[in-house]
Amino acid sequence: MDRNSNTYTFLYAAIMVIVVAAVLASVSLALKPAQKKNVEIEKKQNILASVNIESTAETAEAIYADKVVDEYLVNTKGEKVDGNAFTTDLKKERAKSFEEMVLPVFVCKTDEGTKYVLPVYGAGLWGPIWGYVSVSDDMNTIFGANFDHEGETPGLGAEISTTGFEVQFKGKQIFDEAGKMVSVTVAKAGQVAPEAHKVDAISGGTITSKGLEKMLLDDFAGYEAFLNKNKN
């Protein structure tokens, strides 16, 4: 067949596209379970990290099964609702109205008592940021935090996922003495905020820092009723 004819060119292109699509689709299908598993393990590692338990990709599942004793969904009135907490997509929930939102809670038994892990999700400078914040059973004091991001600037905004930034959250309080929800301020040098509700922002990462502050304020608001209800 003439290699320069239109028919040959069209046929060649069509067959090539079908073959390549079939190969890519089947590889994607074949590898999907392994990839999904990796994402799940990473999520478990992050949840464990928020209650200050170190784990590796190999040990995460066993430790998670041992430490995380309960997981459930709550609505913004603080009532438990049906559903799978682990697979709940926070991004979708955030898009709903405040009344319709359901939020996951993970209950962890640690050496220092029962901790409640609250996932948070918000916007940084370049893309989404998210994380897990654990509170002690007074439903007020933060026990640990773990943050991650999609594409914040390396060396600047991306520093939110470093331990140096995350450890600052330990011991901070979500409610003030009057019981009002004040969340945690991510403060620049010179900014005045009560010590119990303040962590240092990242130099050069102002928009990411502000995004993180807003994420905590917005998302704790969703959990406010749940926290108040379960206060000891």
């Binding site: 320069n4 060119t9 060649y12 390549v20 890519l24 990839q35």
Partner: protein, 214 residues
């Protein structure tokens, strides 16, 4: 094939790109990625390995298809082959070495835009047999990767005082700790990669007079 697999001519395909026809310093191809991934040594090494895998395979595939590819859409065919291979590499990394893939996903995607790949497919694989094309792919990726690694080495050690993330320059040497040393901030910025590549070209041409034009 009457010719031995590693005949002198075939070995030249491997060794030439390391010096006389180096893709970066002589053909000046693939400069864009040489700037982007060489601020540290580790991404430079992983980029080298990924480019080697993709270029060698793409060369072989295009070489096997070379007598069937319609001339008018040959560039599109080459691009489809490259893009499909890069997606495969990305998917495999994501399934089996998740933490590496998280650090590198952007760089892996960048391979598609690397001009060396198109350059070698168009200039070599379309006119040569698969085995020769395979050697040419390995050779060119090695020549490219060699420069990447040299540039990454100097940029990381002079710009961050470390290699592969390990500290090389002791903390006590730094001025902030009462020492005498300071990292060169320019080294971590892309323009410095061009300057380092320029120096490499200078050294290479002063040693290899064949390359000097009148």
């Amino acid at each position: 094939m009457s010719e031995p697999l590693f005949s002198k001519k075939n070995l030249k395909l491997l060794s030439d790109p390391l010096n006389d026809s180096n893709p970066i310093t002589v053909q000046v191809l693939g400069i864009c990625s040489a700037l982007a991934v060489t601020a540290q040594l580790k991404p430079a090494i992983v980029m080298t390995i990924s480019v080697m895998a993709v270029l060698a395979l793409a060369n072989v595939i295009v070489s096997m298809l070379r007598n069937t590819i319609p001339n008018r859409i040959r560039i599109i065919v080459q691009l489809v082959v490259i893009a499909a291979l890069v997606i495969l590499v990305d998917q495999v990394l994501r399934a089996y070495v998740y933490d590496v893939s998280k650090q590198l996903s952007v760089f892996v995607g960048l391979i598609i835009t690397n001009c060396i790949l198109m350059g070698r497919l168009e200039a070599f694989a379309l006119g040569n047999r698969p085995w020769q094309s395979f050697l040419d792919g390995i050779g060119n990726a090695a020549g490219y990767g060699f420069i990447l690694i040299v540039v990454g080495f100097f940029r990381e050690i002079l710009g961050s005082g470390s290699l592969l993330g390990y500290k090389i320059i002791p903390d006590s040497w730094y001025i902030v700790n009462g020492g005498f040393y300071e990292n060169n901030g320019l080294m971590v910025l892309s323009p410095m990669a061009l300057i380092v590549v320029g120096v490499i070209i200078w050294v290479q041409r002063s040693r290899n007079t064949k390359l000097i034009e009148d």
